[in-house]
Point group: C2
Chain length 202, copies 2
DNA sequence: CACATACGATACGGATCCGTTCCGTATCGT
DNA sequence: ACGATACGGAACGGATCCGTATCGTATGTG
């Protein structure tokens, strides 16, 4: 973003440069500690430094405080978007629903529940959360629109409500273990099929 | 539970009895602080005591620590079950969905998101959470069964999946503000109608 | 080489909270 | 009245963490 190496703008580096290894070690330590069950505010700079094998000063040289570090660490966790195949609308929906709360980084699943209170408290976290899920919502919206244009889905449905319908059950099960009798693995298919079919007789 | 006054078991009270006002002031202070945005572990016994106008010793005389106090306070918050009217299955479902995350005590809505991490971390909190929602799930299950017996709902649906379908969207919207474009007030009706109707063409 | 900066480590003063203990006072039963 | 217990308040030692400063050392540029 900010450091475009435009023109002959010399990077201007008197003295020893920052260690990239330290950078990554700090971020990794933060995510590790969160994934191991530490709450956001139980997470201390001292613990992160110790875990990363780094002096506290090395952290404060890079970030203003715990919040800034945390936001950076979470951004690093964003992951890649799922890729709908584009053949079957139903299968694409199952794929997207199954990807809810999943990530290339397995720590994400453990960390997500810890962030729920923060999303409610901090506008920064709320924005970050919305930035992460907005493209995934858009992906699902496009699949639904495709289904409509193919005549597979009724054109009069409310897209936003439908997305909530597809997303909600999976999310509460992954984040809250809402109903111990449900199986996370089969749930995406069940949800999609139920939403498509409806439950009313005739 | 434990203090059944069976037999002529005199309550045996030498000395000044515990103050019921202190009891309630402590619980109220705990819930107030949580509702005002304090996280579970940012919540300190000292803050609770100060807020309640009570000495710390008065708290430690009653509870072993923060966890025990917290579980007691949350139990107090349980609230009353919604009452389906029993006429229209559709309207009863709308009522139950609308009651998700609602409570006679308005503080409950603010407190709920704070508990998500705890439910994942502590088996006690998980059990408490399940104990609170189990009767509400049962209520919804009975309404769905009634709809099936009335021929209004298809008999081949998966009840647990259907309940997740009805509950999930409302819960993520109340707890996470999942989609700012959705309106919490109209959502229950929209969700119920969408689940009943399905979105597939023909 | 000299200089500038970053490094890990350690120590610091200040703050907060823990759980306990002790006040002087208040409120019970006998 | 008397003993027993609870009360609010204050103080305690210990623990943890904050954010800063200061070591001696390492690693870059000119």
């Amino acid at each position: 973003m900010s450091d475009m190496t435009s023109t002959a703008d010399a990077p201007r580096s008197p003295g020893r440069p920052r260690s990239i290894r330290a950078d990554e070690a700090i971020i990794e330590a933060t995510l590790d500690l969160l994934a191991e069950g530490s709450t956001i505010e139980a997470l201390s700079i001292e613990a992160i430094a110790a875990r990363a094998g780094v002096g506290k000063a090395t952290i404060y040289r890079r970030w203003a405080g715990k919040d800034a570090l945390l936001l950076d660490a979470l951004r690093r966790l964003k992951g890649v978007l799922p890729q709908p195949e584009g053949h079957s609308v139903r299968d694409d929906l199952v794929l997207l629903v199954g990807a809810i709360g999943q990530n290339v980084d397995p720590r994400a699943a453990k960390i997500m529940p810890c962030l729920v209170p923060e999303v409610n408290r901090s506008p920064d976290h709320f924005r970050l959360y919305q930035n992460i899920i907005a493209p995934r919502r858009q992906l699902m919206r496009e699949v639904l629109r495709r289904g409509i244009s193919e005549g597979f889905i009724r054109p009069d449905i409310d897209l936003e409500v439908t997305m909530a319908l597809l997303t909600g059950p999976m999310l509460i099960q992954r984040v809250l273990q809402w109903n111990p009798e449900l199986d996370e693995r089969t749930l995406p298919g069940q949800v999609v099929d139920a939403v498509l079919a409806g439950i009313q007789a005739h």
